[in-house]
Amino acid sequence: MTWGATGVLSASVAGVPTLTDEEIAAGFARGEDSALVEAYRRWGPLVHTLAVRSLGDPAEAEDVTQTVFVSAWRGRGTYSAASGTLAGWLVGITRHKIADALAARSRRDRSVASATEAAAHAPGPVSPEAAVDRVLVADELTTLPEPQQQLLRMAFYDDLTQAQIAQRTGLPLGTVKSHIRRGLQRLRRRLEVDGGAL
């Protein structure tokens, strides 16, 4: 038995329905502990992965994840649903904490003044900005409906032209084009909504 999802099996028995993002956000703003639990369950992976991919250091990323949720909970009075999604707000806080961690790291490196230490913490080849884009786009791509998702994967990763995609799938070219356009626009919207510019 190499089937690796026993957790899903046991979890599926109850068939518990899911809170909407808005319901979680409202509960969060009201200070309900259960909403914090739900927010962590839903967006903890996003926050954590943003930190991991931006910082490249698992321990630092865990610290950032913890700090983000602690700060968010303590500062929940400043969250307003009118000005954006809770996910976007959390991503914004995450970006601040990542920037703080990077600043602390460079201070540390300067004070230690050790070449090896500095090399160990050299920033990755990508900016945190690009890391955030990739995590959000990768996440959103997995939520796109079919066949939009499959067509976009073909365009992104198989390097197929839209005409080739139409040929291979048997879908009319116009249909392929409109799915790809809509898919791209939805990915972009995710960057705009949850990108939480610094």
Partner: protein, 303 residues
């Protein structure tokens, strides 16, 4: 000329050449250039993303530290209230799915199978290693997979990184495993026996997931027990399908009950080596027997 058509900008963002009039226009129009730039940013992010960019849950100790720092009591953080179902149509945030006027799926058809065989193999691949289902300790009444933990492959072929090869290998292994098990249980087996299972991962609805389990009873008939949670609200119904890995050949085997589960008979002559993927779609009541193209969850059967 008028501004570039949105389809053309999408085309160019993906690296295809612009038709000459559009190329000229793009060179001079700040509005269209800006639009193109934002789409190009999306394409660049998607093409450089790997599975490591898919949100994965932090280790349990992170929640423990948060709960500790905030002095949350297990009882205080207790059971979330009975949640309401999302009210929108398919698509957890209701953003794009409802706007799909033509959800034509990739249907079984005359297209040769090998051409598009690869596109969705990896999405059914092995879950990434690491702390997958970490949920807050002691305060969660049900261990729902965290949002975004779906082990979906983001990249394929060309730039296929190591994890992708691993996922392919795992899938091949899983399919081979079904074959072996079915062969092994093909004879007179006393008692009902579980011969294969599938973990159903979200397709269009991020927070839906479920399981499928293939049972064989002594008489030899096979049944598939399917259970899905996090189903979107719908005015239609949920259909269970067996698909081949290229998602081109489909067999509808029944519908889910109101509780999101069903035990369905698998016809004797269906070859589960070939139809090795379980899919659940949301179907409108429009009289069409075809797959709507809106899959909710999907997963490969493996022993």
């Amino acid at each position: 000329m008028e501004h570039c058509d949105a389809d053309v900008l999408a085309l160019v963002a993906l690296g295809e050449p612009a038709p000459a009039p559009d190329a000229d226009h793009l060179a001079h129009c700040p509005l269209c250039s800006e639009e193109l730039e934002s789409l190009t940013r999306v394409v660049g992010a998607a093409r450089t993303a790997t599975d490591e960019d898919l949100p994965a849950a932090p280790p349990d100790r992170v929640w423990a530290a948060i709960a500790g720092e905030l002095r949350l009591q297990d009882s205080g953080a207790g059971t979330p209230p009975p949640p309401a179902r999302p009210t929108g149509p398919v698509g957890s945030d209701g953003a794009a799915a409802p706007a799909l006027p033509d959800p034509a799926p990739v249907r079984p058809g005359p297209v040769n199978g090998s051409a598009a065989r690869s596109p969705e193999h990896l999405r059914n691949g092995a879950p990434p290693a690491g702390p997958g289902g970490a949920v807050p300790n002691g305060v969660t009444p049900h261990g729902v997979m965290p949002h975004g933990a779906a082990p979906l492959g983001v990249r394929r072929r060309r730039r296929m990184p190591r994890w992708a090869l691993a996922a392919c290998a795992a899938l091949l292994g899983a399919v081979a495993g079904v074959g072996a098990t079915l062969a092994a249980t093909g004879g007179e087996t006393p008692g009902t026996q579980v011969t294969a299972k599938a973990s159903l991962q979200p397709v269009a609805v991020a927070r839906a997931d479920g399981t499928a389990q293939l049972d064989r009873v002594p008489a030899g008939s096979r049944s598939l027990e399917v259970s899905v949670k996090g189903l979107p609200a719908t005015s239609g119904y949920f259909e269970v399908w067996l698909m081949d890995p290229s998602h081109r050949k489909l067999i509808a085997i029944g519908t889910l009950g109101p509780d999101g589960s069903a035990r369905l008979t698998v016809p004797d002559n269906v070859d589960l080596h070939e139809y090795s993927v379980v899919d659940v779609s949301v179907q409108p009541y429009n009289g069409s027997p075809a797959h709507s193209g809106d899959s909710v969850v999907r997963g490969p059967l493996s022993s």
